[in-house]
Amino acid sequence: MTQLLFILSHPPGSSIYAQEAFDAALAGSAFSNIAILFVGAGCLQLIEPKLAVEAHQRKDFQRGFRALPDYDVHDVYGCEDSFKQFGLHNQTLVIQPTLLTRVDISAHLNAAQRVLCF
């Protein structure tokens, strides 16, 4: 059962919030069973960031997404509507999350013991 559901909604480039939110999720994984849900502009974090990282000299924190199974994090979700909105279906992604409809998302929100929004 998901003890902590982390909702990540910030885009990766315009602030450090996305990077710090992922740090919080990793900290959560050390203490409990967590799930991660990318929604809205947060889904943009999943785009392979190589060019953006070089152009803006920022840290490639998204590389850590690939290591999530090593942290025993296996429930990684994305909002299907947001994927459509941002045209992510044909993009090269760092990892492929399980896409959820709005109804699925409601069910996951209800099932999680706690929800942390970032």
Binding site: Y17, S32, R114, L116, C117, F118
Partner: protein, 130 residues
């Protein structure tokens, strides 16, 4: 009910700290408990004691200090967020060889584990986003 607060917004470019302050006050007035207030992202900037806003403006730092003292709240800041943004207690200032520390009284610096622990032991965790 026992609450944990997860505050993220910057003092002057977001309403997050002000909303959280009102929420906390309302909770405590109603007899609920607040296990911990965790300041993350730019919200840690509220604990900079060197801020000197005009006297006829809201002083969020002292408002949180007063509430914290009155109800003995655990006002906890994320250490990584603090170090990035220049909020240092005496030991961090010494460690990084800075000329001064600037952590306001009543706040304490700790790690993300405090947010996770608070989330797990409280009945509800309320996030005040950036």
């Amino acid at each position: 009910m026992n609450f944990a607060l997860n505050i993220q917004g910057s003092p002057y470019t977001s309403n997050s700290l002000w909303s959280a302050l009102n929420f906390a006050q309302a909770c405590l007035n109603e007899g609920h408990r607040i296990h911990r207030v965790f300041f993350y992202h730019d919200a840690v900037l509220v604990a900079n004691t060197l801020q000197a806003p005009p006297q006829d403006e809201m002083n969020l730092t002292s408002a949180w200090q007063i509430l914290g003292q009155r109800y003995e709240l655990d006002l906890c800041l994320c250490v990584a967020s603090c170090l990035r943004r220049g909020i240092l207690n005496d030991s961090e200032a010494q460690r990084f060889e800075k000329t001064t520390s600037n952590l306001a009284t009543g706040f304490n610096i700790s790690g993300l584990g405090q947010l996770i622990e608070a989330s797990l032991v409280s009945d509800r965790v309320i996030s005040f986003g950036a």
